[in-house]
């Protein structure tokens, strides 16, 4: 394995996820998150070399909305900046790459999106090709239901298992003050909620919500000065699959499997269950089980603890959902997770995704100690 540059997460801030923020635009929300993150690591804006944002103009309804975000990021004097039409977790990956290339030593990684201002179901429909799939009206819930159905048929997993996975997320999520949904619900209660798109029930779907998030990365030498307990990146890998739903076996995630194998190898681990906790960006329990299958995790085991934050079932702000997973790993391993702390946690696996049915996956391995000496 190569010797890479040690990079750490030194701060993470988010606004509590809400269904609709009536008082702020997306970039006004972002300003607050960026200020909080900088204050956490006592950094001045000029201390940060590089900035990268994840957002989608389709969701915000503002062409080039990311340019507006520059004004919330403190972009004077002119900065090195990049924008991805992707979840912030992928932005963190690009910042990490820039650090490996020696281009920068500190980076602001942000994500924003006011989902409530648009219509997420119409937007996820437009992610499909315009010839065959979009005219059928397939949106993210429908494609997730196709995936769930295929997974249940292949494995024999039933409705009750989905309900148990959802209930476990809800139980964990009640202890996270940043969550949109904080009410505990039992598997029986969730299993009695109505079908939205069968086999997915109302209780198995993530709520539509919004926030703004900011994570700060720093290289060895700077990270220790910015944070008393920096959380180090041990491994990361990012894989994309085909867009065409019919071209993939939706009951499996080949991309997540490969990404986790590569990330674990980079981290010097053999198996995913060697970590203490995992934060998975699955937006329904069937998808979480597909993901566990790909990563080699047992969705019903007590260790590693899966989604101690409550996961996307308790808060799924588009563009930030993946970055929150990385932020949660930081909060857990840096001793900032409050009531939801996983005791003795030293290593975490973090998953992020984009697209329909786990089309693009990223897997991070993070730890309390530096990976390379």
């Amino acid at each position: 394995m190569p010797q890479l540059r040690n990079v750490a997460i030194v701060a993470f801030a988010q606004l509590p996820v809400v269904a609709r923020d009536e008082h702020r635009t997306a970039t006004e929300m972002l300003y607050l998150a960026v200020r909080q993150a900088l204050e956490q690591c006592q950094a001045r804006r000029d201390d940060i070399d590089y900035q990268i944002a994840g957002s989608t103009d389709y969701m915000d309804g503002r062409p080039f909305g990311f340019v507006t975000a520059l004004e919330s990021l403190g972009s004077w004097p002119p900065r090195q900046d990049l924008h991805l039409e992707m979840d912030g977790t992928f932005c963190a990956y690009y910042a990490w790459l820039r650090m490996q290339a020696g281009d920068c030593e500190t980076a602001l990684v942000v994500a924003h999106g006011k989902v409530s201002e648009g219509d997420p179901r119409r937007v996820t429909n437009l992610q499909m090709d315009p010839y065959y799939h979009a005219p059928l009206g397939i949106d993210a819930i429908a494609s997730s239901a196709l995936q769930a159905s295929m997974y249940m048929a292949r494995t024999g997993v039933g409705d009750h298992e989905l309900a148990r996975v959802a209930a476990r997320n809800r139980a964990h999520g009640a202890r996270n003050p940043d969550n949109q949904v904080r009410a505990v619900a039992t598997a029986e209660e969730l299993q009695s909620t109505p079908f939205v798109v069968e086999p997915l029930r109302q209780g198995y779907l993530a709520p539509v919500g919004e926030t703004a998030t900011c994570l700060i990365l720093a290289v060895e030498g700077k990270a220790e000065r910015m944070c008393d307990r920096p959380v180090w990146i041990h491994g990361v890998d990012h894989r994309s699959e085909l867009q065409t739903l019919g071209a993939r076996d939706l009951s499996r995630s080949a991309g997540a499997r490969l990404a986790s194998e590569r990330a674990l190898a980079l981290a010097g681990l053999d198996r995913a269950d060697q970590v203490d906790l995992a934060e998975l960006a699955a937006t329904n329990p069937a998808e979480e089980m597909v993901l566990c299958d790909a990563l080699g995790l047992d969705p019903f085991a007590s260790r590693p603890v899966l989604n101690p934050s409550g996961g996307p079932l308790c808060a799924d702000p588009v563009m930030s959902t993946g970055l929150i997973r990385l932020g949660e790993a930081f909060r857990q391993l840096a001793g900032r997770a409050g009531e939801r702390t996983v005791s003795g946690a030293e290593m975490a696996l973090v998953h992020g995704q984009q697209g329909h049915c786990l089309q693009t996956n990223i897997v991070w391995i993070c730890g309390t100690r530096r990976r390379w000496s």
Binding site: R20, E22, T25, W76, G118, D119
Partner: protein
């Protein structure tokens, strides 16, 4: 299976209409700003550190990154800082050609706003020219940017000290 003959008129395009409705939150600062237009007041926000005034108001200075905690009223008169003479129709507006589009630095503001200049010949417009807002009549203002119909050469001198805290 054998394909039938291709259609005589080949299908070259697929028509698709993208319909994406949005309802934008104004944000607390912008909401106060828009509401003030009904009263013929133009508001800005002042940077806590540099004291520069931004119009329309923003919650932070894009330049200093500091918050802009104070809302202030600026004048509805100012100076042209740059302009152009437009000879082609613009999408969405029915304006007599040619017309002048200008950048106007309102008295008391530190960044200009963009404005239409009317009631003068295009060749008379010049850099530094004093202009004033022409408002919709009382009772017709809605609290949006249409409340200022256009700017015209100043007919009165600027009065008072700007910006005024509100």
């Amino acid at each position: 299976m054998k394909c039938s003959a291709p259609p005589e008129t080949p299908v070259k395009y697929v028509e698709a209409v993208v319909w994406l409705p949005y309802h934008y939150v104004a944000g607390d600062y912008r909401a106060v700003y828009l509401r003030a237009l009904k009263d013929k007041k133009i508001l800005g926000s002042r940077c806590d550190v540099t004291k520069k005034v931004f119009v329309p108001p923003v919650i932070n200075s894009p330049e200093s990154f500091a918050p802009c905690s104070e809302l202030v009223q600026v004048s509805d008169q100012g100076r042209i800082t740059t302009f152009c003479i437009v000879n082609i129709p613009v999408i969405g507006r029915n304006l007599e050609l040619p017309y002048v589009a200008a950048s106007v630095l309102l008295d008391g503001a530190d960044i200009p706003i963009f404005a239409l200049i009317q009631e003068c010949r295009t060749e008379d417009v010049h850099m530094g020219m004093r202009v004033e807002a022409v408002w919709k009549p009382d009772g017709q203002r809605q609290g949006d940017h249409e409340d200022i119909l256009y700017f015209r050469p100043s007919q009165s001198s600027s009065s008072g000290e700007w910006p005024r805290p509100i």
